[in-house]
Symmetry: C4
Subunit: 235 residues, 4 copies
């Protein structure tokens, strides 16, 4: 019963956060996908594959176990295995979003990480947003999506994934994550804005990346998320 | 009777897909046109020329035969002959769209094809979106629109047009196609987004086009449209 | 009576076309102004100066004679004299619009005319959209707005102003015109789109302006507006 | 009583102007903040920190004295001390806005002031919008926000702050001000548009900043705000 109740709420959240990607202008057609994990029951809820948002309801969300077996709902997104590997590697992660948002994808297509050029970046991501290595032909011929997930996990080994909730897949686009689905989508929105600003400030600077001093990066990140953070309040 | 019934539905679809170009932000004023073909009766339905969308209804759509003779409705778009030549050359094509959308047109004005820089491109178009050769003064003085259609047909000779549903007319803008009018409009929308990303990733890369490896292009195209495609599902 | 009736209609048109600039995204706050002329009575209707659109009604539109004397309504836009000089120089012109729209203004700020890079341009403006010379300190100290109008008139001497319904004031922004206020606003909208495309296609082309062949320019302009035009139809 | 009545109105204005930043597209999530000052009672009203707009009402606005002590409402924005130093240094200033708007932030990230490239700029800001110097590690470790406010005050020493209602914090973003909160937000909106135009006209000009002649800058600024200004009227 509890399981079913929680699942219903999680499916609703995943459904709504998928729609949030659309209303924020990050996703057209069937592009993009959001998932969330129920850590207690080891179940992942994700957008079904290859269907338009107009055809989907919260009940249609795919529920799978950690091996990708379908528990209920429609067939899961083809990107499921990428999500699963990230969940397996990082117990802190509760939600994952993937988009082809314009500016973040442009950086991914250029195969370049996004260095910290300003406090907008430092307020949300602690350091350069990395672009992982390209997959080999063998990795693509094999379990393509799983291998991309493994490369992401490998890249972040030893890091706190909540301090860097975004990664670029080269030639592909961004994946973002956070403590839940809502946080993962917020990171997608912020990454897109940051990616645009970074490109524009580079241009204004004559092509070179104008770097924010490290002490500014640390100050801005820690005033929001550090041990002595003073940015937020509860109402 | 069947003919009339089918035509009515086709006119409605063509009308709606023309409006879809407007609501997607690809078309202002009277710019752009969408057509569809009834292969059984060899009739083409296309937006009438030189009238604002507010003045048009589904009934006004122009119906012509394969020689361009008006069967019913208002006078057809001046670009009719371009559409007709594409339909004649490619029996697989069921719908065609033409826009002056900003970023795709910028590539067309630069007289450059759009190389595959990412999976967003490879997911929908299998290879570089070609820019055809410019027409000669003689071709422009003659049957201008027909000649442009012939050049497009010539450029795609021997290819499966459904694997490359877009072309750029140099100094002009994009034409896209698909199995029906809806697919042709989707290709216009996706092409515009892709054209923007391609330009931005080139800039981030210092001007050079960052190419997606061929094996990635093939993987992404075929997971959606190949013999073993696993991207879509029916609900 | 007839005069009053016509004036009322003209004031309504000018009011609505001023609002059209806002809804098309070309104008924020009090920026921009549209006027129209009643050639029979030599009266010009123009947006009042220095008031937000929310505070204005059609009745508030300023009516002035050809010397700028206020006949009725609120005080006219500070740019009135620019409009008056254009009306005096070109009897074919029935309406004028001025905006600080982003991309056209960027060209104006660069003090560069916009060359014909594509058929979107050639469909509406027959040749390069000129940027006039900068005013001298003396011209600015004197009757600034009148002098700018005179420079525009001088630049277009001997040309049919309906074939080139746009000009850039250097360091300032675009002025557009047409047979009436609606046409002048359409030219502002199209100019903005064209200015954006031109900049982007230049970038894609490595900085150089990719020119449309002259025979293409002539073909596209004349199929819409030439003696043998075949683009438009009445419904 | 009077105090309470005025405060209520000021809190409403600050609340509405914070929302205006969102509806103008300058702010997402909790980014940005607007404040206003009651000079008679030396009280500042500012957006509370770390809460989404949906969770806030006018009554929640923070009221503080000139030392930052909370008088009523929720805890103030972490940027409060920046606002306070600006109010202390410039008695003419009645309202302050801070955003991370895309284009102005891109200039700030490039650590470059925005030179006067056109009359859109000169109409509202009399000269180059300055980018202040970066804070030292010591200044960041100390009272970070207060120190940024002091640097801004130092940069504007001896100037009339109403003639230059904007500044860029390097690697961070814009702060704007005016006679009241509404004016400060208008300056944020105009700065963003100007920052975009400046970047684009520089690009069109091959990278170099195309400067507006000084006599044009003075003419445009003074026809709106000089002793003999003739731009505005009351209705």
């Amino acid at each position: 019963m509890t399981l079913n109740m929680d699942l219903k709420a999680l499916k609703k959240e995943v459904y709504e956060q998928n729609l949030e990607l659309v209303s924020r202008g990050l996703v057209i057609y069937t592009w993009g996908n959001v998932s969330a994990i129920d850590r207690e029951n080891n179940l992942v809820v994700i957008k079904p594959k290859g269907l338009e948002y107009d055809d989907l309801t919260a009940d249609d969300m795919s529920v799978v176990d950690m091996d990708g077996n379908l528990i209920e709902g429609l067939l899961p997104s083809v990107d499921l295995d990428i999500h699963l590997e990230i969940y397996k590697a990082f117990p802190e992660v509760g939600g994952i979003a993937h988009t082809h948002s314009t500016w973040a994808t442009a950086w991914a297509q250029a195969c370049k990480g996004i260095p910290v050029m300003g406090t907008t970046h430092a307020d949300h991501f602690y350091g350069e947003v990395p672009c992982v290595r390209q997959l080999t032909p063998e990795e693509v011929d094999g379990e393509y999506e799983k291998n991309l997930g493994l490369i992401i996990a490998e890249t972040f080994k030893g890091r706190n994934p909540l301090e860097m909730g975004a990664v670029l897949a080269p030639g592909h686009g961004p994946f973002t994550w956070g403590k839940d689905a809502k946080a993962s989508v917020e990171h997608s929105v912020i990454l897109e804005e940051m990616a645009k600003m970074a490109k524009l400030s580079m241009d204004i600077n004559g092509g070179a990346a104008p770097m924010l001093p490290d002490y500014m990066t640390t100050k801005h990140y820690t005033r929001k998320y550090g041990a002595d953070a003073y940015f937020y309040q509860e109402k």
